[in-house]
Amino acid sequence: MNPIGTRILLVEDETPMRRFLRTALSAREFEVIETTNIREARLSVTAHPPEIILLDLGLPDGDGIAFTHEVRAWSQVPIIVLSARGREEDKVLALDAGADDYLTKPFGVNELLARIRVALRHAGQLQAGMSHETVLKIGPLHLNPERREVRMHDQIVALTPIEYRLLWHLARNAGRVLTHQQILKTIWGPHYTHQTHTLRVFMAQLRRKIEPDPAHPQLLMTEMGVGYRMRDDG
């Protein structure tokens, strides 16, 4: 992925935040389109379709969550929410609305760039239509979807079908936070979205099989109160 010329739509009403983001992102050769409210963002999104949206939640003419829903109705463009609302409920709300990621203010440039990278890569994979033949490699973890084979440090790990699906889902979204609801809905279906404790039990089992020290995980990370994330250093 080459960020040069990648068009970012920035929706943020705070001037200092815009200045910081413009400076930091332009320095990395991103093309930044600045808007300060939802009305402008709506126009911009259709006039100059961006490759990624950085969205503040508390905007003068409306809520970013509603805008997320609006965009998701017709586009899969990655949306990263940047918000001062740090509560877990707010994160879940934004992610369930269709945001790809959520960064709580304050955050560092490196963290933002890492999240942008993950979001762009994931979007790219979606567009390319990832084939089932591709072997997924995340650090020492290798997943071969064709053979339904999971290897950790080249050792085959035996997983139950559900465990495999859970791991595959997280691995495919490596670097992104998936909410409990999203995971439960994908793996078990829409009727099981309240079974958070069951998901936790399966995650614990999965950690025992994959993590060298399940009490100090390196891959399967908990985002407390929000969901899970497969760590992705790449």
Binding site: T160, R165, T196, H197, R207, H216, P217
Partner: protein, 506 residues
């Protein structure tokens, strides 16, 4: 009624006198006729006694004074006897009536006193105006067998209906005008007063420095409207005024106390928070202005150092702000618990991950009992407790790497012990360290003094306890005890492998 009884009594006396008349002299018979007069005077009104006296004289004259069976009198001395009999009867009936009235008054006074006593005893225990008003109207309605209501000025020039008994008691527009007049002038109005005496009810003022209101009462029982009762009515109003005044005063004292306490608290919080926020801010301002203004004089390492300062101090400030917000949320009571079953291992794992950067080279020895696979807590808040306690151990025992976690369950409780080998807590500070802005021994250690206060807030919200004790071989152990409901059956038995959906496009 009194007259009939009088007539009957005179007849009986006459019969009696006739029967034993043979052994008595006429003057004895006169004495005998005093009996019915006294009996009637004792029991009935004065008129009945007088009529009885007249009938007694007539009967005596008719039956026992010569010529018999006529009202004429032959002997002039007998006229004197009859007159004296009538006069004695009159005086007796007067005295008797008076005694009777005094007795009745005494009884009434006693019941009034009792009523007032009951009222004051009941209002003493009540805490607010409304309750007091309800008690007073209830008592007034019972005592005066009518209806009563209390209105208070609401501070915006209007009148607020505080309580009425019974519920349907209402006043007309005009009556409300009287209530307002009564509040404004501090004088009674309506029946039994000089103002609007034709009204069907009485309005009494309830006015002190603190309250402006009125008690309106419609007396149901006619005999209760006599003049003497108006003193009871005003005593009632006085009692009501005093009681409401007292609750007002109590409320003022209470709110003043709370205000003082919260102001003290706010003052401490503000001074602490402003100090703790200004310190990192000062470093950031200093470092960033140096970078801006003196760039040419700085070498590469100084440059880097200043940038490093800005970053770490900004981090510190963020942690402090987060802590302050968490504390405020816990204090406000707006923080509701999202209780969920979560594997203890997951809590530990995410705690260690959150403090990963600071854990480098430090060993955390973890022992979780098999019986405590899952724990029922608010995962987000409880993780914050674990993070704060581990952070505390890392800060206060930086040189000694050993940190131990022990988790075991017993009797529907889970006990979590987190120990370090640091310098420990000064004796007597074991409870104090959980208070806001109180810091333990190593005061050189950076921190907000809020971490442990947040821990206690969260644990208490979970109905649990947290204590700190100095360990025998050095260091501190924090001990958390949490009540735990039994693990739901479906936690493990719910076989989700069985409900695996059809092959999808995963």
């Amino acid at each position: 009624m009194g007259y009939a009884i009088g007539l009957l009594a005179v007849c009986i006396t006459t019969g009696l006198a006739h029967w034993i008349g043979s052994v008595l002299t006429p003057p004895d018979l006169v004495m005998l006729y005093l009996l019915p007069i006294m009996a009637v005077a004792y029991r009935f009104e004065r008129q009945a006694a007088l009529v009885t006296a007249a009938m007694s004289v007539a009967a005596y004259d008719y039956f026992f004074v010569y010529p018999y069976f006529t009202f004429s009198v032959a002997d002039p001395r007998q006229i004197l006897t009859c007159t004296i009999l009538f006069l004695v009867g009159m005086v007796t009936s007067d005295l008797m009536t008076r005694i009777r009235h005094q007795q009745q008054e005494a009884r009434e006074r006693q019941s009034d006193t009792e009523a007032l006593y009951n009222l004051s005893r009941e209002v003493l225990t009540s805490l607010d105006d409304e309750e007091v008003a309800q008690i007073i109207t209830r008592h007034a309605a019972t005592l005066f067998k009518g209806e009563a209501g209390i209105w208070l000025e609401d501070g915006h020039g209007g009148l607020h209906r505080l309580a009425v008994t019974p519920d349907y008691f209402q006043l007309s527009e005009q009556a409300m005008g009287m209530v307002r007049w009564c509040c404004d002038h501090g004088q009674s109005a309506g029946r039994g007063t000089d103002t609007f005496p034709d009204e069907s009810f009485t309005v009494l003022p309830l006015v002190t420095g603190r309250i402006h209101g009125a008690l309106a009462i419609r007396i149901g029982n006619r005999t209760l409207m006599k003049h003497e009762r108006s003193s009871l009515l005003s005593a009632f109003a006085r009692q009501a005024t005093l009681a409401m005044d007292r609750t007002r005063l109590g409320e003022e004292v209470r709110s003043a106390t709370i205000r003082v306490q919260s102001e003290e608290m706010r003052a401490t919080l503000l001074s602490m928070a402003s100090h703790d926020l200004r310190t990192p801010l000062a470093a950031i301002t200093g470092a960033s202005t140096a970078l801006r203004d003196e760039e040419t004089h700085l070498d590469a390492s100084q440059h880097k150092e200043l940038l490093e300062t800005i970053c770490t101090e900004a981090d510190r400030m963020e942690r402090l702000i987060t802590n302050l917000l968490d504390m405020a949320r816990l204090d406000s009571g707006l923080c509701h618990l999202n209780l969920e079953w979560i594997p203890f291992e997951e809590l530990i794992g995410s705690t260690l991950v959150r403090l990963e950067k600071r854990l480098l080279g430090r060993k955390v020895i973890i022992h979780v009992d098999e019986t405590v696979a899952m724990i029922h807590v608010d995962p987000v808040l409880f993780q914050q407790v674990l993070v704060n306690l581990l952070d505390n151990a890392l800060k206060h025992a930086p040189d000694n790497p050993e940190i131990t976690w022990n988790v075991h369950g017993s009797n529907e409780r889970v006990i979590i012990r987190i120990g370090d080998r640091g310098p420990g807590i000064l004796p007597g500070m074991e409870e104090k360290i959980f208070e806001k802005f109180v810091r333990g021994a190593g005061s050189g250690v950076p921190g907000s003094g809020l971490g442990l206060a947040i821990c206690r807030g969260v644990i208490q919200a979970h109905q649990g306890t947290i204590h700190a004790i100095n360990r025998a071989r050095g260091g501190v152990e924090f001990r958390i005890e949490l009540p735990q409901p039994p693990l739901p059956m479906d936690c493990f038995s719910f076989d989700l492998e069985a409900v695996m959906p059809e092959e999808s496009n995963l």
